[in-house]
Symmetry: C2
Subunit: 332 residues, 2 copies
């Protein structure tokens, strides 16, 4: 294993310290537990809080800031954060209007966010949770009962975060997050495995001439392994699975999100995006907004995911709402 790290045990702490050093205008770290919160004091608004294992950077810490998350708690690599982290992050972010937890559907995350919610309720904080499960690849999986939460999380955090920033109530912010989750679907694939620092070797073996379709963001098994394909063939398979699932129909407007798994360069992601556009054009599905880049990664894995979110005018306006975070920034 060759990586730009120091001690395996320090990977998460040092990377968080670096993110803070680079973005101290936007974020700060809590002193006693690993949590990223906004640099400014909590606003009188609903606090949107997420978290999960590290190794998916910039998710979630890179999405803390104006118009998106109020706090994020990172666990160790591919390991759920603790209820204490979630509790402390929520307490630091709470502006008195309640807290919405956005939870990717992994058993440990769901359980720990439930415990954190109970702790907060005992303190009199109003808390709601939305569990995100947008991965169409497999039902049940390593770490997960039901579908996994993957790329759709980025879009939900952006849209729910915008509505919270605009001053909506906890019930309203929860409702849009649920609505987004109902309208978003994702599928991923891998050219190579990731390597978890503490393991020191690839999570799974993938022969030099094979790829895995439907892979999870921790290297969990996907739908199938196949001989290496062209980008267009990969898109046909994945966009087919995604569009059939909702289903997305002719005339739908979508956000099309092509996400890199961490080790795939932009030159390839834009090829995937172009193939996706051609695929959707043929189906009469219109890309109204797009996002292309490495936003929810699996350490150094080479591969990508395709996410489609069916838009209405409200979701489109919230996508366009200003956002000012380390990893996503536009407007104003």
């Amino acid at each position: 294993m060759k990586k730009l790290i120091n001690k395996v045990d320090d990977v998460v702490a040092e990377s968080l310290a670096g993110m803070y050093s680079a973005h101290s205008d936007l974020i700060r770290l809590l002193p006693n537990v690993k949590a990223v919160v906004r640099a400014c004091a909590p606003a009188t608004k609903v606090a949107v809080v997420s978290g999960g294992g590290s190794g998916h950077e910039p998710m979630h810490g890179g999405f803390v800031g104006y118009g998106m998350l109020d706090a994020a708690c990172p666990g160790e690599v591919f390991t759920s954060p603790t209820p204490e982290q979630m509790y402390e992050a929520a307490k630091a972010a709470d502006g008195g209007k309640g807290v919405l937890f956005l939870v990717k559907n992994y058993t440990g995350d769901v359980m720990n966010f439930e415990m954190a919610a109970d702790l907060l309720k005992a303190d009199g904080v109003e808390v709601e949770s939305v569990v995100i499960n947008d991965d169409v690849a497999v039902k049940d999986s390593l770490y997960t009962a039901g579908r996994r939460g993957v790329g759709g999380t980025v879009l939900i955090e952006k849209i729910a975060g915008a509505l919270a920033q605009a001053g909506a109530s906890l019930a309203e912010v929860k409702e849009i997050a649920l609505w987004c989750n109902d309208n978003v679907r994702t599928m991923g694939m891998a050219l190579t495995s990731c390597t978890v620092p503490a393991a020191g070797r690839p999570t799974f073996d993938l022969p030099a001439d094979e790829i895995e379709l439907g892979v999870g963001i921790h290297g969990e098994p996907g739908r199938k392994r196949v001989a290496a394909m062209t980008a267009a063939e990969v898109v046909d398979f994945m966009a087919g699975a995604v569009t059939e699932d909702l289903p997305f129909k002719e005339g739908d407007e979508v956000i099309a999100f092509v996400n890199g798994m961490g080790g795939t360069p932009l030159i390839e992601l834009y090829i995937v995006y172009e193939n996706l556009k051609q695929y959707l054009d043929k189906k009469g599905i219109q890309i109204a907004r797009s996002l292309v880049g490495n936003y929810i990664t699996s350490l150094d894995m080479q591969g990508c995911s395709i996410t489609l979110l069916k838009l209405d005018s409200r979701a489109k306006a919230l996508w366009d709402y200003p956002v000012h975070t380390p990893a996503l920034r536009w407007g104003r």
Copy 2:
């Protein structure tokens, strides 16, 4: 070779098409030659134009937009664009106030930009060129007489682009680009080789327990191969070489830019950044601004580069100037 591509010959064209599809609000492609220009008509301002081989995305096309480049011409992967591309890109970007070519110091690029400048001058267009050579790793190299142009290019395109956007003259924009080039230094390293699609195999062999310090952005040889090191040791070596070269001194203010080579995830780049900050803190060199991410890449190479640019108040204000491109966006 596993990559998310279709035909090897179509990699650059399809990736450009995808970038355009994703960012047609900011950029457009010329119909007859490969060139990225701003979506809007040329403004009455100095046009800042760059280009070079593909495989370094988002550089340069991803930097076309308000406050940065007016046009970029991408060659095939790791191959200089033609004088015709440069000429057509400059013609499309020219707003009547002259054209500044920003040229990374590779023999083919320099020669072709010179020929393009001659063609433009024959048309009565005022043209100046600045050759960027910020790489401290080696003198002379594969493809290059003298030092190579690398990470500093991103910072120079941002700062010169801002001054052009603010309405300065061609002489003034050239002067700031030269000033930046005098005040910026970079060194890169690789954990792994890149794989050029047309070659189909890694450009160089690097054993599983070795890294290469001072590597170029096309996988050209660096200063030396050594046993794998910690991130802090890599930073000590590279930041040492960079700071000694100018030299950067106690009390200096800098932009610190940690760049990923394309295959290195953000979790590692932030560790490198934190180690760099600690290194510079010890030397009394202050990071006034920072940039961390994959901005000038080498296809799928794993590795990073460290760039420092010594700031004065003018350069700092131009760095902060609004920028609105596919890959860099802030302000307003």
